[in-house]
Symmetry: C2
Amino acid sequence: MWKRSLVVSAPGKVILHGEHAVVHGKVALATALDLRTFLRMTPRQDGKLSLQLPNLGSRSSWEAAELQPLLAALSAELPEAQPPSTEQVEKLKAFAGGDNGHEAVQTVAAAAFLYLYLSVASKYGVLPSVDILVWSELPTGAGLGSSAAYSVCLAGALLSGSGAISYPLQEGQEVARWTEEELDMINRLAFRGEQVIHGNPSGVDNAVSTWGGALRYISGKISALKRVPILRILLTNSKVPRSTKILVVGVKDKLLKFPTIMEPMLTSIDAISRECEGILEAMTEEPLQEHYSRLEDLVDINQHLLNGIGVGHSLLDRICQVTSSHGLHSKLTGAGGGGCAITLLRPGTAPSAVEGAIRDLTRCGFECWETVIGAPGVSAHSLPGLKAEAQKALTGS
Amino acid sequence: MWKRSLVVSAPGKVILHGEHAVVHGKVALATALDLRTFLRMTPRQDGKLSLQLPNLGSRSSWEAAELQPLLAALSAELPEAQPPSTEQVEKLKAFAGGDNGHEAVQTVAAAAFLYLYLSVASKYGVLPSVDILVWSELPTGAGLGSSAAYSVCLAGALLSGSGAISYPLQEGQEVARWTEEELDMINRLAFRGEQVIHGNPSGVDNAVSTWGGALRYISGKISALKRVPILRILLTNSKVPRSTKILVVGVKDKLLKFPTIMEPMLTSIDAISRECEGILEAMTEEPLQEHYSRLEDLVDINQHLLNGIGVGHSLLDRICQVTSSHGLHSKLTGAGGGGCAITLLRPGTAPSAVEGAIRDLTRCGFECWETVIGAPGVSAHSLPGLKAEAQKALTGS
């Protein structure tokens, strides 16, 4: 074990419908976004452990022996039973912190890595020596599940490397996936990483990053949609920073202030998620223009409802207007109040419309990606099978 | 009778909340808009009857004796019992039409006048000789109830002139109003005028123009709010022409297509109307900043809901954005898809904000009025007591 060099990727996520309403017991649909995080794990022989996160400009390394005292703080089992305690997380952050501030994103990322590494290592009582490099196409802090994709990649690599699960890639394969049972182990371990990073996450982000496709989430219950079509989208980052916590509190306050007005709006959003679920399932039989047209209607209506419950932003409206001028339909995704918007593209959307929209959005100062949702979940890759940019990032060449 | 020279005015209307939802059995609030229609009726001695409508550029005159055959087509009673029949309306339009097309707005206005004139005259069997001049501050066809204000002015003047009701203005008074019973007669007659013009009107426009203040309308039932504050507004005409009928059908189609999504949105709009009603009533005690703040919230939420049910327009969004940049809150009013928007002003709104908003709206090519809602209904005036512009219009000087 810990002898193979592994490459793993995991997708980000976007909420298609149901953001905010989900906090109040309504259905949300989360889908896997094909902007991915890539991880390469390579064994080394010098007793050191290193973590490179080029997106964060961070590179840490430790003597594996230094970590021995931290092992004692973890249970000898894989950490299904217990979430990381506040003391454990503080200890790991202090250890990982170095010269960074205690809450610097690099420190938190390193602490999550150490927690997962030690959790897996504790099962074997050994502290293997590896290089880990994680590179992502996802912007961080934009509500796209970058931390979950990071945790899922780590969980997949560490569990495979330790032999707890297989590494499914066969000779000559470019990409492979784990079994359902293995995915379940990856997901559960990744959730612990998310807990180190976020304290009390819903578990949706790591689930969608693990399983891919689309998930339905209601009242703490997560279930995968059986089959979902892959949908082309534009993802646009308004670059407006926002606090999810403040936005959630804002909706709660409005619900207290105007219950008879706000409750039906959340009910309507719930119905949008359910309607969308039905359309997505129908599309896997045979996607029709009518399906796309209905999906566009839902996007438009929900965008107005999200504005109505107070989580819009004038720059998100701008994104909707710009894409609308090219005949495209957009809504905010996630917490709102800034952050990202998604724009649906049909298979037959004219390339000129897409290019025109991207050009105009970029001119407004937004960042824009053409990608898909409903993407595959965590995957094992051969390095040569990766696209050039990811290959380059993982090999440093 | 028919001896006095009379001056009458009646207000337009705006829907404050509940447009479209009212078609589906929800509450709407209609308020009297202080852009008014003014009428002057002057007896003449030459057996002629003349109608001048300077806003429409029209001037008609008839020999009273010519009208005799039309009288036979009307019941001998005031027309409470029967709405105008299609045949009657066609006959009146043909008579009034002259060289105009059969459906020209001037023809329809003249037909409504002739119907009301003959209805009142039929009670007395005489066809008096009068000059009638009607001038309005209201744009026509903008959903502001200009036809109802016209019918109400005609009904008030003709009923007063005939002695069926009093003319309440006392010597030395500048303005006076009729009793409740008299207003009821004016309203019922004006409704007949609306039926000539619109075929199957709801009766809300003539009711709010007659009673002023604010009315609640639900499932065909109209009731006046007991007391309402006068609220300052900006009224902005997007100048986008629209068809109410097509917009109403659009909402109905969407309701059939997405019932579980649309129904709660209409429920939410209903709750907005009811909440607004409560706030308006509370404000008559003592208007607080908190009241205005809540009214602004309702305006914002409803604008998003109206966009959500599909009756918005990009230029209405523009009006909302422009006013929002001055800290003001706007929504479409009436059918939407174009037409007018209202912007709430607080008593303490800085004049610079109002001026800035008007300047920017005008620069965008919109037409903009600073006025009030909750205005008095149909009123009798002394000519010298009128504002200069109305005096000038009514005396042609």
